[in-house]
């Protein structure tokens, strides 16, 4: 029965203390919450913590959520983004890029090596960005959210998000071109 329920219907049950509905919401959205967080903080262990903290807040604040006014995912994305940006402002013990290294492909797989090198370059470029620009890339590119949904997740106007995404992509392009040389410009 719960499988067919919308997120907002599940939230109404969670607000009444329904643990099965809460587990269903976590099953649907925990991976995404962790992935968004990792796109912003860059460290897997911290992203896992943020995923947990997000759903603790969902449980505790379920009664404040109004499914008639907002989608659950918008609300959840706002919690994740706020927690992740707060986390990046704490003193770090582990560099961001440590979580972003790519495993070496099989020997001789030239294409794989090039892909891995490019991916590492992009992750390093992301690690060097301000956290809000990383959040914009994470929401729009990693999660494939629309511009409007991304803006809502970051609690920005559409125009402000557009400007942020433009700066993020511009910084990404410049850094990748510098790291990869001519290959970074190749379509």
């Amino acid at each position: 029965m719960l499988e067919g329920a919308s997120d907002e219907e599940l939230m109404a049950l969670v607000a009444a203390g329904d643990q099965a509905a809460f587990r269903m919401l976590m099953t649907r959205h925990m991976r995404r919450a962790i992935r968004i967080a990792q796109g912003i903080v860059g460290v897997a262990a911290e992203a896992d913590d943020i995923g947990q903290e997000t759903f603790l807040r969902v449980w505790r604040a379920a009664q404040t959520f109004d499914g008639r006014r907002a989608r659950f995912t918008t609300w959840m994305h706002q919690i994740v983004v706020n927690l992740a940006i707060d986390r990046t402002r704490r003193p770090r013990t582990e560099p961001i890029e440590a979580a972003g290294e790519v495993a070496d492909p099989a020997p001789g797989a030239l294409t794989g090596l090039i892909d891995a090198e490019e991916t590492t370059a992009v992750r390093r470029a992301l690690a060097a960005m301000p956290e809000r620009q990383r959040a914009a890339i994470s929401l729009f590119h990693f999660e494939g959210l629309s511009g409007r949904d991304s803006a809502q997740a970051m609690q920005l106007s559409d125009k402000a998000f557009e400007s942020l995404l433009n700066r993020a992509r511009s910084a990404l392009r410049q850094t990748v071109e510098t790291m990869l040389g001519d290959r970074g410009r190749r379509p």
């Binding site: 587990r23 976590m26 099953t27 925990m30 991976r31 962790i34 992935r35 990792q38 796109g39 897997a44 992203a47 896992d48 995923g51 947990q52 759903f55 603790l56 449980w59 979580a99 972003g100 892909d115 490019e118 991916t119 992009v122 992750r123 992301l126 890339i137 994470s138 590119h141 990693f142 629309s146 511009g147 559409d158 557009e162 995404l165 433009n166 992509r169 511009s170 990404l172 392009r173 990748v176 410009r185 190749r186 379509p187």
Partner: protein, 142 residues
């Protein structure tokens, strides 16, 4: 829409016009047939692919571990708050009745275990035990 406007939109939203703001799409699709515009889109798509490939991977197992951790943290919180709540959830009027019941039980116990002591001592011990645990009643009995 000029080519410069087209370029600015492509640099912001990427090479997939379907992801651009809705009001811009129709003109952009018409302009995309122009080779210069098509080249701009191809360049933007290249950055899209690079960005998407850098997305972190999160396994089902990691998500499952996080879910289990949330469940355990909530259970621990519930347990930590439940015990005091149960204690203080007794109706206030029940407190004197509970004290009397305890006193009666203690009185019967002392009467059975130490039948030889005088009623006054037993009474004193009983109330002493109930009201002031600093009274060394065991010492008195010895």
């Amino acid at each position: 829409m000029t080519l410069d406007e087209f370029r600015r939109l492509a640099e912001t939203w990427g090479g997939d016009i379907a992801r651009w703001p809705e009001p811009e799409r129709r003109e952009a699709e018409a302009l995309a047939r122009d080779p210069a515009a098509a080249a701009i889109l191809a360049e933007a798509s290249r950055l899209d692919r690079l960005a998407t490939r850098a997305a972190p991977e999160v396994s089902e197992r990691r998500a499952g571990d996080a879910m289990a951790a949330v469940t355990m943290r909530l259970a621990a919180e519930r347990q930590a708050t439940a015990t005091p709540q149960r204690l203080f959830a007794l109706p206030r009027w029940l407190a004197p009745a509970t004290a009397l019941a305890c006193a009666a039980v203690l009185g019967v116990f002392i009467g059975l275990v130490y039948p030889a002591i005088s009623p006054n001592v037993a009474e004193g011990l009983m109330f002493g035990a109930l009201l002031d645990d600093s009274i060394p009643f065991i010492t008195v009995l010895q």
